[in-house]
């Protein structure tokens, strides 16, 4: 199976401590050498609705984001395809259109990529500050490595 386009998206707010994890992880990933031009790195910031096209336009997508897991251990979580819950929250503002809604809508549009992977960590510190906490920084290499391994496996299949 061919992966003509692979999107790697970092989500988060860099001004909000560990909430910026996804964007920091993306920047680390972007520095890795050797990926072909079919691998695209996208700093999604805190955009919601504008990201839909980046999800629907590729064959495989990896999203880095801070998340709240069910068991809440301090480790890297990797959720693949069916393991990913996508749901629509009640919203007060269009600012709150998030990744979950994007995935839900992409699915209803019938444009969900063949592979959807969320790589995330539960945040340790959430306050108005720039930079990740030491605990979360320690998890960065593993998160980036998980993404690298997945992308390489997809490229090998192509």
């Amino acid at each position: 199976m061919k992966y003509n386009r692979i999107n790697v998206i970092g989500l988060g707010n860099l001004l909000y401590g560990d909430e910026g994890f996804g964007v920091v992880a993306l920047e680390r990933f972007r520095e890795l050498p050797g990926f072909p031009s079919s691998v695209h790195c996208i700093d999604g910031g805190t955009q919601g609705i504008y990201l839909l096209d980046y999800i629907e336009s590729c064959d495989a997508v990896i999203v880095f984001d801070a998340l709240i897991p069910l068991d809440y251990e301090r480790r890297v979580y990797v959720y693949r395809n069916d393991e990913l819950p996508a749901f629509i929250h009640r919203k007060m503002s269009s600012h709150q259109m998030g990744l979950s809604e994007m995935l839900g809508v992409a699915r209803l549009h019938g444009k969900l990529p063949r592979e959807v992977v969320l790589i995330g960590v539960p945040p340790c510190e959430l306050e108005l500050t720039i930079g990740l906490s030491p605990e979360i920084s320690l998890l960065l290499p593993e998160a980036v490595e998980q993404a690298r391994a997945l992308v390489n496996a997809w490229l090998a299949e192509s």
């Binding site: 096209d53 919203k91 007060m92 600012h95 709150q96």
Partner: protein, 572 residues
Amino acid sequence: MGKKIVVDPIPRIEGHLRIEATLNESNVIEEAYSTGTMWRGIEVILKGRDPRDAWAFTERICGVCTTVHALASVRCVEDALGITIPTNARIIRNLMNATQVTQDHLVHFYHLHALDWVDVVSALKADPKQASAIAQSISPWPKSSVGYFKDLQQRLVGFVESGQLGIFSNGYWGHPAYKLPPEVNLIAVAHYLEALDFQKEIVKIHTIFGGKNPHPNYLVGGMACAIDPNSDTAINIERLMMIKKIIDDTNTFIDQVYIPDLIAIAGYYKGWLHGGGLGNYLSYGDFPETSLDDFKTLLWPRGAILNKDLANVIDVDPRDASEVTEEVSHSWYTYAGGDSKALHPWKGETTPGYTGPKPPFEYLDTDKKYSWLKTPRWKNHAMEVGPLARVLVAYAKGDPMIKDTVGMVLSKLEVGPEALFSTLGRTAARGIECKQTAGFMTHYYDQLIANIKTGDYRTFNSERWEPSTWPEECKGFGYTEAPRGSLGHWIQIKEKKIKEYQIVVPSTWNASPRDANGNSGAYEAALKGTPMINPEQPLEILRTVHSFDPCLACASHLFDMNGKEITSVTIV
């Protein structure tokens, strides 16, 4: 006093907007209090900076209406420095603004507000044949076959049954305040998905003129895009053709999808006419055909209406120190001259002083300060701004296009103009206005082509670009009508730097707390008197607050794996 309910979207993180409401024994809202739970502070960041950079900072206030602050900012700096922009720049700005309003209204209706009226789960029970017949009876939109609705319904069923996605699991589905038949719900869900797909086309216009979206580039003195029909890198024939196609498709979508849906849905809710609120409406006006000071040429007229008196539109001058003021008697700011003062933005101050409880808290002491939003007032009146205010000002002034469209909507719904003073009226006004701004897009496209044909390619006036050409001290005012309402930027420039900058945004007008005299803001007034069927599922509050299209500062977003509802509703 009966119960007190709190609707607080993100108690876990920094938060947006929080509504506290008290109910009487019959579950009717007696009082409501609106709180902005986050401080913006851009005014402080701007002090001492180059005024030509201000647009890039202010534009980041909002990631949804991503052009409006840039527009108000360049206008206020140009006003201060006495800069006249070229005709092409005026047209391009108007076209981008019309694009913004059209896209924003469409997204708001389908993706933020529709689910307050549309019961997604009910769509599973729809008869696709009937849905198709209804769709074809209200619109020539081609995606309306039995097969189309059947296919969508099957995807929806699969989606809901798969459980793991539970896409719409957090709505108040089955709430008795939902009135649409299953077939209309199914049509609305189909268009929810189509609108989401289509809206991303509209904003490509921003990318073409502004280089990127969100946050396209603006420029003090004009626009940062070159026009040259023979160049590959400028606005050329190919790009103009692309813009034309987007504009035509947008008009078709609004006419054949949005407006028929609005009328079809509103027809089932015309008994739900709560949420009127203040009855005071303000519009600065926008879409200048010549200069911004030539108010008579504004396609969206300027004016104010008090106490729903449509026979009397009052002149408005936001430069006048006695007209637009901001108070902090219930806001977490202090004024050097005392917190009971009301200051015009040219005398404005931004000094934060939080005196509320340490979060997390259960509720606020609303007799004291209770919001990060200041309290803007016009001649001491609390005012509603936004689509309803603009449509009413235009209607009262006899604008022919607005009179026609309002008349068409009212007659199809078989209601009188008094129905406009409601939550539903606000929602209808947004649709009416969206049809109008889609028309503006065509109008400005034609203007642009006509002007380019005269050989005028200018988009930038560099005469006052160099700070050496500026006066030692000056002040300016820039305004626009953003999708959510009247937006004003007031600047003072001294020694080539920003001395003071004040921004009064639409949601500050609408979501403001009480003023020193105890007068409620627009949200607070609109919620008062609304009956609630089930206070644990405050759908009625969401309807009214959503009808204003609240826009408070950008939230931190977190992927919640538990599928927990972020908008928490607690009864205390």
